[in-house]
């Protein structure tokens, strides 16, 4: 019997019992569009797989206990120092377990790249409008994954129980305590008494390795199943419609690319881990609440939060003998709460403004949605300003600046720069639309000068390709919603104030440079 026949027998055996053939036949032919920006989410997915693998390796030796031990390991400068078993085992992994330090560094670099890829993926989805109907639910899951990622990363940063991680936990405790009325109780429940206690490492360990990874797996599965079921969005282009997907079949092209890309992501992470130190816990020393290091910072994805707390003015009020620490409450809880809620609800807010309830599978070019793009640039600017303040001490020492100047600069900057970014981005988008219009109407400037018989010089313009012209003109330009304040009989309509706001937003949103129409092109051909 030939090999093929044997394989066929096995396949037949499985198919007769599962009926998998019909499913696979259909699934393996599923088409995915091809664009580099569609691979950002894949980077996050593969980083997650790397995190699971390297994290499992670390659990073999990590001892999540706050039991006090005396260090007797290989790292001489800590010889005889009292520390928690957690920190001692993290040192043991770093210095005595074969490949342990490399694995720890792979785990940490993968975590940073995981979060960076999530943010980059989120920006792609936002700026191209991929969150629109029917994908609002998947957008919310994505926001959930980002939030979980921040928490999971922070817990991982806290586990080794070194001086830096303990400092982070201390700040988390302060933020918990800032919650009015219940804060101090919540802190007591979380730490099982007064900080630091002996419970938080075992507790955050189980959340870090069991609860949150489980939640991740569930949410990632739903996230991907929805992509599968709702199909992937695609950039506009000739032959691409709201009803089809143009790209490569899953088997073999897409699978080969995606499979290969996994190993590249693993390779880049391992390369970073091999050449660059990350979180050298042995230098920090064990955590004790009495100690703190200059330049204590969180990992980058919490840097904006740290920056917000650092710039908060010292405001406290006293009610009936209770202190309300606005300086922690506002930057630590209220602003992040508003930002993340707003982000999760954004698809609904946008569709309320545009009144657009149709499905969208073709992506927007960011310039063709100036308001959304400007809003994204505004949020990014806010994040960058706060992130910069999160590293204000290092910026001060490395660029010979005063930390106070940076703090005041970012205090004003966080209020002034985001609106400025909105205005500039919106103008840029409209200018780019105008440039597109020019390009379609008059073609590409070739740089070739012609002298006419009359002596006049003209530059030769070359018409652009029909494909390009299609891309530049295929988007639709929705008019603003018409929401009169009074009805046909002159009676004020219900919810007039809400409608007024909606009409104003809709008008601002619909602002655009008219795209080239067929009539425009005909007119230009005639002269």
């Amino acid at each position: 019997m030939t090999v093929e026949a044997k394989l066929g027998q096995v396949a037949n055996y499985v198919d007769e019992r599962t009926g998998a053939a019909a499913f696979l036949k259909k699934s393996l032919k599923k088409v995915f569009p091809d664009h580099w920006s569609f691979l950002l989410g894949e980077v996050a997915l593969y980083s997650f797989v790397i995190l699971l693998l390297s994290g499992t390796f670390l659990t073999f030796w990590f001892d999540p206990s706050m039991r006090e031990v005396v260090y007797e390991g290989a790292y001489q400068p800590l010889e005889g120092v009292k520390m928690s078993a957690a920190y001692a085992s993290a040192l043991h992994i770093s210095f005595e377990v074969r490949g342990g330090l490399l694995m720890r560094q792979i785990h940490h670099w993968a975590a940073l790249i995981f979060m960076a890829a999530i943010v980059a993926h989120l920006l792609r989805v936002f700026f191209t409008g991929a969150f629109r109907k029917p994908r609002e639910g998947n957008w919310i899951i994505g926001v959930g994954l980002l939030t979980l990622g921040i928490v999971e990363g922070f817990l991982g940063y806290s586990l080794p129980d070194d001086l830096l991680s303990g400092t982070g936990i201390r700040i988390a405790e302060a933020i918990i305590q800032a919650i009015p009325v219940v804060g101090s109780y919540l802190s007591y429940f979380a730490f099982g008494g007064v900080f630091p206690g002996e419970l938080f490492i075992p507790r955050i360990y189980i959340v870090h390795v069991l609860l949150l990874p489980g939640a991740f797996l569930a949410l990632i599965t739903v996230h991907l199943m929805l992509v599968w079921y709702q199909k992937h969005t695609q950039y506009p282009g000739p032959g691409r419609t709201e009803k089809n997907v143009v790209g490569y079949q899953l088997m073999p092209m897409y699978m080969a690319k995606a499979g290969g890309f996994f190993f590249i992501v693993f390779g880049v992470t391992a390369f970073l881990a091999a050449v660059a130190s990350i979180n050298p816990i042995w230098l920090y020393g064990p955590y004790t609440p009495a100690q703190i290091s200059a330049g204590s910072q969180p990992d980058w994805y919490m840097g904006w939060l740290d920056g917000l707390v650092r710039m908060a003015p010292p405001i406290e009020t006293y009610f009936f003998g209770y202190t309300v620490s606005w300086n922690i409450l506002i930057p630590g809880l209220i602003i992040p709460g508003i930002l993340f809620t707003g982000m999760a609800l954004y698809p609904f807010i946008e569709s309320w403004i545009t009144g657009d309830k149709r499905e969208h599978h073709l992506l927007d070019r960011p310039r063709n949605a100036p308001n959304r793009t400007a809003l994204g640039a505004m949020s990014l600017t806010f994040m960058m300003v706060t992130l910069i303040n999160g590293g204000n001490d290092l910026i001060a020492t490395h660029f010979d600046l005063s930390i106070n100047q940076i703090m005041w600069g970012t205090r004003f900057g966080v209020l002034i720069l985001p609106p400025l970014a909105f205005i500039i981005t919106k103008r840029l988008c409209l200018s780019l639309q105008r440039a597109d219009r020019e390009l379609v109407l008059h073609g590409r400037e070739t740089g070739r000068l012609l002298r006419m018989p009359s002596g006049e010089f003209v530059e030769v313009h070359e018409p652009i390709s029909p494909e390009k012209a299609f891309i530049l003109t295929s988007h639709e330009q929705m008019p603003a919603l018409d929401l009169p304040a009074v009805d046909a009989r002159g009676v004020k309509r219900a919810g007039a104030l809400k409608n007024k706001l909606r009409a104003r937003l809709s008008k601002a949103n619909a602002e655009a440079v008219p795209k080239v129409s067929v009539e425009d092109l005909k007119e230009i051909e005639n002269h």
Partner: protein, 263 residues
């Protein structure tokens, strides 16, 4: 022995012997005289002080006053002691190049003898902390690295960072890095509290503990970067920067390559 004695009549033998003899005498003398060098006679001492006063009048008095009494721009130096002068001038902080924030470490303007003379002059004005002698600074023998690490994290890391890389203070002031500083100067800084630094007197941190701190600093300085490039030993900020630029940068590069259509 026989092989050497074959050359006893060689023409280079006599000059070589002479060189060995001279080296022997010189060496013995230098060893012998070194033990007595610290014992300075009263005359030598007053000459040194006078020398120091001359240097002070030329280089320092315009800010610190003709009698080191201090004026509005610079503090009085009466009672700061020789250790203070040795630290400030020996690390190049004084004379100051720029009075805006704080004196920064730079190449020293005065050589060791001039620093010693200046220190002797300032010490002669009123008693103050003395320059620790070499016998007091045997941190290799008397210090403990692990204990020094604990002390450093308890007392120094909040300004100088966990690995002694330095950190920011308010209004543009900063705690400098303690890497590459002479043990003597580290000791003097603890005793005298230069710039914004508090004084750690012998009751707060005993001399033995000071040696332990120095030993830990020297051990951190000599420690190879065990995990690869150190990224400045300043914590997660540079790590995040590298993750975004090199990490995600490389991956986006690959993604662009993967999505390029075959020509």
């Amino acid at each position: 022995m026989k092989r050497i004695s074959r050359f006893r009549r060689h023409k280079a033998a006599a000059p070589l012997l002479l060189i060995f003899a001279l080296l022997g005498i010189g060496g013995t003398f230098s060893v012998a005289s070194a033990t007595t060098a610290n014992e300075m006679s009263a005359v030598e001492r007053s000459t040194l002080i006078e020398e120091g006063r001359q240097i002070f009048l030329k280089g320092c008095s315009s800010c610190h006053g003709l009698n080191a009494e201090g004026v509005s721009v610079a503090p009085s130096l009466i009672g700061v002691g020789a250790a203070s002068v040795d630290f400030q001038v020996g690390t190049g902080r004084m004379p100051m190049a720029d009075m805006s924030t704080q004196a920064m470490r730079k190449a020293p303007v005065y050589n060791d003898e001039e620093v010693a003379a200046l220190a002797a002059y300032v010490a002669s004005l009123a008693p103050g902390p003395e320059i620790p002698g070499m016998e007091l600074l045997n941190f290799e023998r008397d210090g403990s690295t692990a204990e020094g690490g604990e002390l450093f994290r308890n007392n120094c890391a909040m300004c100088h960072n966990f690995a002694g890389q330095g950190g920011a203070l308010t209004q543009g002031k900063y705690a400098p890095t303690v890497m590459g500083v002479l043990p003597k100067h580290i000791y003097e800084a603890m005793v005298t509290g230069p710039q914004a630094m508090p004084v750690f007197n012998d009751k707060t941190i005993t001399p033995e503990e000071k040696l332990s701190i120095i030993k830990w600093i020297k051990s951190a300085e000599a420690e190879p970067n065990l995990g690869g490039a150190s990224l400045g030993r300043v914590g997660p900020v540079t790590e995040g920067l590298l993750a975004w630029t090199l990490g995600l940068g490389l991956l986006i590069g690959v993604a662009v390559w993967l999505a390029t259509k075959a020509k």
